[in-house]
Symmetry: C2
Subunit: 195 residues, 2 copies
């Protein structure tokens, strides 16, 4: 949510047993294709429509049985995205940030994992067979990374959709910090500089 | 778009050669499952994230080569949704309504087709291999037909997303007229009666 407080991972891990930890991941892959033969897609970036009607990243709560944050994250990703997730693992090295959520005693950790386009296409192809598909997860969507000629279509209109928690902020930070957008698009969107 | 004018099909077909005709379809199937073991999903209703960052229904413009509206619609559905569409055809009997669009000289026809859950799942499974996937179509999503305990999550939050043209209005009319929602949800959403 807007106004969520960003914390260092070390602080988050020291929060104590009364806190719940959630982990979510942005999966992306370079995409060489062009929309209408002229607009570079640049990258395929995955988000999902959630059961609550809002867009978010795949992932969920880490359980007491999970031996680390990433074990919980990868377990959740398998439940939500299916067996194409067994081809790779989201690791601590993919960690991006942590936010204290508006909900009491929840801290949300965010990861971004670069895949090959073939790996990402396999995730999309297998996701409809995942355990949570049609229940907690209503579908996967790619994020448009361009601005159409009318100035509003593409990423600006996408950002007007409903997002859960810190997902919109996490998306914008990742698009900027991983250099998934071209500089012209960043300038037009007025995304703030990295702190 | 809000304020679009509804017209009879006969009027729309008499509009003359200067007009372009677009056709879109809502595909749905009964879904007996329950979210979290207690919230009936009722139906799986498909929409898609479009290249412009907005939600809409699959379909598109009818070409001069198409011999009728439904030929154009089914051609577009195959391009956007892939070869699972060859198992059935959206027919004139699935027609619901026509809207004069805000854009000059475009009339948008809307259809709704009831499938079996197996047919709808096949559409979802094959859609990532469709010609337009990752370009004009960024992903398929199901529409949540329930309201969560917090009063906002589910269909109300979904309706806060960005929609193209008359898609939000077409969705609400179809949910009401095809009785895809339970009466309690309709009352809470304050959907107007059929005219």
């Amino acid at each position: 949510m807007e106004g969520d407080q960003k914390v260092e991972l070390s602080e988050a891990l020291a929060l104590g047993p009364g806190w719940r930890h959630a982990c979510h991941a942005l999966l992306y892959a370079p995409d060489p294709r062009k929309l209408f033969g002229r607009i570079p897609m640049r990258f395929a970036v995955l988000m999902q429509m959630r059961f609550d009607g809002r867009l978010g990243f795949p992932g969920g709560f880490v359980d007491a049985q999970d031996s680390c944050l990433e074990d919980g994250l990868n377990r959740e990703l398998r439940e939500e995205l299916g067996d194409a997730m067994s081809a790779f693992r989201v690791e601590r090295s993919d960690y991006r940030s942590s936010h204290i959520a508006a909900r009491p005693r929840v801290v949300a950790h965010f990861y971004a994992k670069r895949l090959t386009l073939e790996q990402l296409q396999a995730v999309e192809a297998r996701a409809p067979q995942a355990k949570d598909h049609g229940l907690e997860v209503l579908g996967l969507v790619r994020v448009p990374l361009y601005i159409l000629r009318d100035g509003g279509g593409g990423l600006p209109a996408f950002l007007e959709n409903s997002f859960i928690g810190a997902a919109r902020e996490q998306l914008l930070e990742a698009l900027r910090d991983l250099e998934l957008l071209d500089p012209g698009t960043i300038a037009k969107l007025k995304i703030p500089d990295s702190k």
